[in-house]
């Protein structure tokens, strides 16, 4: 299965900019489907970015994050070719992870 995580990590010398798009429904548990039944909440709770064995960014998310979430941040002291490990877990116990090379 293709990864749910799409990531672009680019280094311009000292600073690495990370842009991430994740495929996830991010259901709030408040919306009804066509039959009028509530769609149960299903959303990513934790998203972690680790580089060289250290967490560089940790997101705790609620249901107010848009469907197919996007997040952008930057961090220091990584170089081109380093591995960036991205992992998420959702409220139903689902998870995914991927590793991206910093370009």
């Amino acid at each position: 299965m293709a990864s749910s995580i799409r990531v672009r990590a680019t280094s311009n010398g000292d600073i690495t900019e990370v842009q991430t798009l994740i495929q996830h429904p991010m259901d709030t548990g408040l919306v009804k489907d066509a039959k009028g039944e509530l769609i149960p909440a299903h959303y990513i709770q934790e998203l972690k970015f680790a580089c060289n064995g250290k967490d560089v960014f940790v997101a705790n998310w609620g249901t107010a994050i848009s469907k197919d979430p996007y997040v952008k941040f930057s961090f220091k002291s990584a170089k081109k070719g380093d591995d960036l490990k991205i992992s998420w877990t959702d409220n139903k116990g689902g998870s995914d992870e991927t590793t991206a090379k910093i370009a």
């Binding site: 408040l30 709770q45 960014f57 997101a59 249901t63 107010a64 996007y70 930057s74 220091k76």
Partner: protein, 161 residues
């Protein structure tokens, strides 16, 4: 004699041990959400609260003061409340976390980001907004809380059917 008293102290010790564990557990409860921001733990309780002030308190255990060193970037008018691009940058030092709150959403806390040492204190993300509301970014820097707020008008809500 020894056969009678022998088992008792051990049982008493075990019971005492269990009781103190229970007490420690109870004693920690009120502080658990406040520590959650500093820990890796997911702040479940803070995400359930409806009111913005309550959620800030549950997440950080203190109140924030407005700061002009935080730049909150959000649209004046969002045509689609389901996807509202919001970003924040700050010139504050020693930032440890950044959180986003949407006052009028069913649950005010939208996202909380941990900023470890070496990570730039700036985040861009996309939030859902049920209706026109103020959006608040809270920045935790050097143990203190700072905030910036902006009003975003929503023409089509993103949290209802």
């Amino acid at each position: 004699m020894t056969t009678h008293t022998g088992p008792h102290p051990t049982r008493r010790l075990i019971l005492q041990g269990a009781a103190s564990v229970a007490l420690i557990g109870l004693g920690n409860l009120p502080f658990a959400p406040a520590r959650a921001a500093a820990n890796d733990k997911y702040p479940e309780e803070a995400f359930k609260l409806k009111n913005e002030a309550d959620a800030i308190k549950a997440l950080y255990g203190k109140t924030a003061e407005p700061s002009d060193k935080i730049k909150l970037d959000a649209p004046e008018i969002a045509e689609n409340g389901g996807v509202v691009p919001i970003s924040v940058t700050t010139t504050l030092d020693k930032v440890t976390s950044i959180s986003f709150f949407v006052a009028e959403n069913p649950n005010a806390l939208a996202a909380s980001y941990k900023i470890p040492d070496g990570t730039i204190p700036a985040v861009a993300n996309r939030l859902k907004m049920a209706k026109t509301s103020s959006v608040t970014a809270i920045v935790e820097a050097d143990g203190k809380l700072y905030s910036a707020t902006k009003e975003v008008k929503v023409t089509v809500g993103g949290c209802g059917g």
